[in-house]
């Protein structure tokens, strides 16, 4: 039977990572069953609404990726899923902007929540890039028009040869592989930061999640 000294190796990176995770994000924080009273407000709903819209975007996007343009341009079911993908993106941005306004006006970076604010900001920018490449990969006249309008803008800032909006293959891979991966990763980190630091309280409320740290 091995001793405790033999089984625990605190110098291992796995042990350090485990200890850091247990210290910063214990399971009670990761999966809470209660929230502070101030969360009972409509303005706190928009983060979850944004996540819900993102779930619909991903699900409909997976279907579109499997079936392809010859399906979603032609069949009724394809056009329905294509529209579902498009309109869930519109709702995603609608909810995200209201969420952003709510968090900005309550200074959501208070209480050592800088990482939550920064990851949210990055997610917003990456979302714009993901949506833009989505417009470019509709494979219709609209996407061609957008690409040839946008190329002048990208060329004028010197990145047109590297990020080529008229290259459908590059834009498609950006839209269905690289950018969703980045956005998904940042979103997960953002949500974990919310869990770690707690939901930000209104300006004049006591911070129940951080026991009074409200500045």
């Amino acid at each position: 039977m091995s001793t405790k000294l033999e089984t625990q190796k605190p110098d291992m990176w796995t042990a350090r990572l485990r200890q850091s995770w247990q210290k910063n994000l214990p399971i009670e924080k990761l999966l809470p069953d209660t929230q502070p009273a101030y969360v009972a407000s409509w303005i706190y709903v928009f983060g979850v609404l944004t996540l819900s819209a993102l779930a619909v975007i991903i699900a409909s996007g997976v279907v579109l990726a499997f079936e392809g343009p010859s399906w979603y341009h032609i069949s009724d079911a394809g056009r329905f899923v294509n529209s579902l993908h498009f309109w869930s993106v519109q709702l995603f941005f609608f909810f995200m902007v209201v969420h952003l306004w709510g968090k900005f006006w309550m200074a959501a970076w208070r209480g050592k929540r800088q990482a939550t604010w920064i990851t949210g900001s990055i997610a917003f920018v990456v979302s714009i890039a993901t949506a833009f490449t989505g417009y470019l990969t509709q494979t219709n006249f609209d996407s061609q028009w957008i690409a040839f309008e946008a190329k002048d803008g990208f060329n004028s800032v010197g990145i047109g040869a590297w990020f080529t909006v008229t290259n459908l293959g590059q834009m498609l891979l950006m839209h269905v592989a690289f950018l969703p991966l980045v956005l998904g990763l940042i979103t997960v980190i953002h949500v974990l930061q919310v869990r770690r630091k707690g939901v930000v309280p209104p300006i004049d409320a006591f911070d129940q999640t951080l026991k009074g740290v409200n500045k």
Binding site: A37, S41, W42, F94, F206
Partner: protein, 62 residues
């Protein structure tokens, strides 16, 4: 797509121009105004409370 929506979606966009540099389509303006309306509703309409819980919790303390 047929009928009203077909005709509506095929209309040219209407742009509002305030001066030489400010130009916005009516549809984009409608979306922005809708977001502002929803934002102000969200911060002013009270959230339905759980009567069982609301007797125990306040709206935060100073």
């Amino acid at each position: 797509m047929t009928g009203f929506f077909s005709e509506f979606m095929n209309l040219n966009a209407v742009y509002l121009k305030a001066n030489s540099w400010l130009s916005i389509s009516v549809s984009n303006l409608v979306v922005i105004i809708s977001m502002l309306v929803i934002f102000f509703i969200a911060i002013s309409i009270p959230f339905p409370k759980d009567h069982h819980e609301s007797s125990k919790n306040g709206r935060g303390q100073k």
